[in-house]
Each structure stands twice: as C-alpha cells, then as structure tokens.
Symmetry: C2
Subunit: 332 residues, 2 copies
C-alpha cells in the first residue's frame, strides 16, 4: 500500500513536470545494459543482465519485465545491437558473436511486450550518436567514430546525422583493406583492418614475434603461457618498458592510421573519435595514428583534423540507444 502510493506520487510528479524519459538498451555478446535516460542524456536508472544466460526471446522478455516495472514516463526505447541492423524495419540482420538473432524483428517484438515505440540500430552507430550528443563529438558536424575491441567498428555522422547507407550497414571501418593481399578476414574479405588490430590479432602478432625468437617481458607476465596473452598484458609489458610490446602498439597505430588516411581523404571529417578497449592504451596509440594521418592524408583534409578518445566509455551504448529513440520519435 505504501509502495503503491509512492508509485502514484512519483508518476504524478513525473507528469507534473512533464519530464520525458527514454530507455536505452545495449545488447552485447556478454552483457546487456539497460538505462533510463532523461532528456539531457543523464542516466537516472541503470541495470545489467547477462546476455548469454538467455535465448534472444527470453532476453527481450526479461528486459520488458524490467521496463514494465519502471514508473517513469517513457517515450520510447532504443536498442543497440552487436551486429548490423535494418533501422527502418527494426530488424537485426545477425549478431556477430551470438546465434539465434538472424533476421529477428526486434523492434516489433519489443513493442508488443512493452507497448513502447522501439528502435534498433548497430551498437557503434548508437555509440556515435551518444558521443555526438553528449560526448567528445558535441559541436562537431562531421564525425568518424571508431571502436577497437574484438571487432573494429565504425559510426559516421555527416552533416549532424548518422549516415547509414543503402542497407543501413555503412561505416565498416574495420573492413577497409589495409594489406592488399593480406590475411583472410572473417567477413569474407582480405587484409581488413580488423584482421590486424582486432584484439585476438594484436595478440597473434605478439605471439608470432615471440615464436620467432624475440625476447619480451610479456612471457614473464603470463608465466610462460602464451594462451594467456591479451592486449591488456601487452599494455602492461609496454608500461614496464618492453620493446616488443612498444613495437606492437606502434604497428597497431600504423594499421589504424593507414585506414584512417583513406577515411579522412574520403569523408573530410572534422574529428575522429576512438573508443573501445585498446584505445585505453593511450598516447602511444593515439600519437602513432595522428602522426600517420598528419604525414599521409591530403593537405586540406588534414589541416584541422582532430583525433581524440571517446568520452562516454561504458555507458555510451545506453545513452546512444536512448538518443536513437529520441531522434526517431522527434523526426516522425
């Protein structure tokens, strides 16, 4: 009884001040984050559940249950997914690392469960939206977002709008070829950026060098167990002065820089925002990327280009998904 009256009071307070909220959901391969976001991009309530514990249908049901318990005045729901999505149809094409999502009409299903208008987009697009609205990209019109992790993703803001392309799958910076006849990539392509700077491939390059006889403190850090090498271990080694680790980061920066020279010459953006795990490596990576762009991009293109770290970190997915819902509802 007390709870009920509190709820009613809360609800009426909400409608009194006419404050609108949006739900942002970030479905990753491991975890799914959910947040209630106000009109100023502030997260007022937040939750996280394990993606892997549920089937896709169960996951949507669980998320709907959480939302249906909220007493906020929710205007709509945005969902960022770890794979390409058809924004217009609210459909996931597929998830990069989870089965069961192929061609699922996520937006329609979720609306059925919550009665809330729901919009779906790729997670890097959603991150780009967040950085544009409230992060490192505020005040810029033409923005390239790059995320570095197991996959390498891109989101592109042109003239203040997300550019999605003909099938809503534009922005695949990770699949720019950087080595013409390079290694096969899981995307079906060859020599793609992701094939050299995705987490496991950074590790692969380190292991190759070690197996070719190079000395490195990396092996001490993993007590001789090569299977324990991660980008984080390589970074630890770098911070204690390991030369091989330094070389790995410089190589990584060069690959990213070369891909971005093409991106800069093609898009003539104002700013490149880089986020994701290895972006935390910091100066050595950012400086190498920036130097390559300054050395090799075209004169006018590189004059005022900025390369900066993403600002919103882990919550970019929630905020961006909420902004997706806000933008889609406002442009109806």
């Amino acid at each position: 009884m007390v709870l009920l009256s509190f709820d009613i009071w809360h609800l009426s307070l909400n409608s009194m001040v006419k404050k609108d909220y949006f739900i942002g959901i970030d479905i990753g391969a491991t975890n799914t984050k959910l947040g209630v976001v106000d009109d100023n991009g502030k997260i007022v309530n937040q939750d996280v559940i394990s993606t892997k514990e549920y089937t896709p249908d169960e996951l949507l049901l669980e998320l709907a249950d959480i939302i249906n318990d909220f007493d906020f005045k929710i205007k709509g729901v945005g969902i960022g997914v770890a794979g390409p999505a058809n924004v217009k149809e609210g459909k996931v094409y597929y998830f990069v690392n989870s089965p069961g999502w192929d061609n699922m009409e996520v937006a329609a299903k979720f609306k059925l469960l919550t009665k809330l208008d729901t919009y779906v987009d790729n997670d890097v697009n959603v991150m780009a939206l967040a950085e544009h609205c409230y992060g490192a990209g505020v005040n810029y019109r033409n923005i390239i977002c790059l995320t570095l992790g197991s996959g390498v993703g891109g989101g592109i803001i042109l003239d203040n709008s997300l550019y999605r392309g003909n099938d809503f799958v534009a922005g695949e910076i990770g699949h720019i070829p950087v080595v013409p006849e390079g290694y096969d990539c899981r995307c079906g392509g060859r020599g793609c950026l992701e094939r050299y700077v995705g987490n496991e491939f950074i590790v692969e390059r380190a292991i190759n060098k070690i197996e070719n006889g190079r000395q490195s403190s990396i092996m001490g850090l993993v007590r001789g167990d090569k299977s324990k090498i991660t980008p984080r271990i390589i970074d630890e080694a770098y911070r204690i002065g390991d030369k091989l680790a330094e070389e790995i980061w410089i190589e990584t920066g060069k690959f990213i820089g070369i891909a971005l020279v093409g991106v800069v010459n093609l898009f003539n953006p104002e700013i490149i925002i880089i986020g994701g795990g290895i972006a935390k490596t910091g100066d050595i990576l950012f400086n190498t990327i920036y130097d390559i762009i300054k050395q090799r991009a075209m004169e006018i293109h590189k004059r005022s280009i900025k390369v900066i770290p993403a600002k919103l970190g882990e919550v970019a997915g929630i905020i961006g998904a909420a902004m997706l819902a806000r933008q889609r509802i406002e442009s109806r």
Copy 2:
C-alpha cells in the same frame, strides 16, 4: 540590323515560353568547355577554348565575353574546376595541373564580369551531379563516382545530395592507400590508388615489366620508343592478344577493386559509376573490379551493388556544372 531584330525575336520567344537556361563551364588543364543547358539537361549551345592559351584572369574574361553574347535567358552559371574548390565561398583552392589559380575567388570574379550568379565546384563532383541527374545514376540515392585519367577522382552522392565534407574536399577515392608502405604519391601520401592506376603509373608498370625482360607487342606498336607508351597503346596491345597488356589491366582492376571494397564497406552505396579514359578499356577492367568487390566486400554490402560505366562522357562536365548552378539557385 537583321541580326539585332533576330536577337530581339529570339529573346522575346525565350521569355514568352519562360524557359530557363543555365551555363555549365568545365575548366580542364588543356581545354575549357562551355555550354548552355536547358532545364532538362539538354545542351542547346556549346563552345570550347584552350585553357593553356590564357592566364586564369584572361580565361574568365574570354568566357564572360562568350556568355555576354548569348541571347538566352540565363539563370546562373556553374563552373567545374580541375582541383579542389570551396563551394561555399566560390573559391578554387588550387588547380592540380595549372598554376595561377591558387585561392582565386572564381565565383565572385565571374559574377562581376557577367552579372550572373556563379557557383564553383570540383570537376568530379560536377560529373557526379550530371550522372545523377541525367546519366547512369538516375533513380539511385547513394552513388559513388570514380574517374580514371592522369588523376583518379571521386564524387559521392548520399541520400540524393552531393556529399562534400567539412572543407568541401571529400571523395578523394584516388588517395585511398592501397599499398601500406607503397610509393610516395604527389598528394604527399603513400601507396595511394592514383599512384598505381593514374595514366602515367599504368604506363610505368608496363615499362617496368618490359625492362625486366618481358616480351610484349607494346614495343612493336611504339616502334621501340618506350616514351610513346600510353594507356591507349596498352589497350591496343591487349586487343591483339598481348599477355603483358592483359596483365596490366587485371592489375589495374585489382588495385581499383581493393580501394572500392573499402568504399563499399564504408558507404554501402547502391551503385558505382566509373568514367574517364581507361574506363573505355571496358570488360576486362570492369569485370576485374566487380569480381574483387564480389569476392571481398561484406555480405550485405555487396548483395545488390552495381558497377557500371559513366554515360555522359565528354559533356558530363558541362551538364553537371549547369546542374550545380540549378541546384544552388533552387536551394537558396
């Protein structure tokens, strides 16, 4: 007297039917083409003068004289230039192969000479406009245009509008790196597409192979004078079954294809339109480019991608420049 009355009659006929005309000017390094274009993209009058015979100021004066003699009802003038241009300020940054144009305010100067509203853009952007309005790109929203010649240029139509970027210099497909530590390019970059498939570099690759002892009918066609080898000669050799010439075209197609895989994954366009000199080589080049894209671009991106030749040829510059004027005037 007879001429004058004819002019008056023509003028009044023009204003009677209220037909609008636009002037399209295409200033190339060698020739400058000028045309009067009607509202349906039809060239009703055309002229050509030598660019090299004039200083930039004299050239503008000469063009203005021609226009001032016309008795069409001209609504505005568009000028395509062989170099990057600041569309907003009507300013040429520089010409790729002609001195004297640096930072010239071409639009303002030309308006002073003709009293006509004048707009300036890069020649490949203008070609993309023409192909979109009246050529191979009619009915497509997201178009990549590529021109192959001494330089390799690009023009990008997104959501039915020319995408120009932050300083109006976007679309430099010729300066996507295709060989990570490749040859220095005149743009200041390294391993750029243009450095491998620009006319002189196609010839360079042929000469290198011949100097390495490869037999080819190319040497017969130029009577032993290597300095006479051109892409056209290589194509002649190819058509009489020369293996080295075939190899050159396949290599050329591969370089272009690899750059376009990146472009397709980034822009997710519907169609790629290829024009310019060596595009006339035809099937062997287009098939190689298409095969590389079909083999290496991402699944959804390549599903319905088309690669087709430009349609408007030599007059694309005139028509596109006129369309530039029309679009800019209509969007004022």
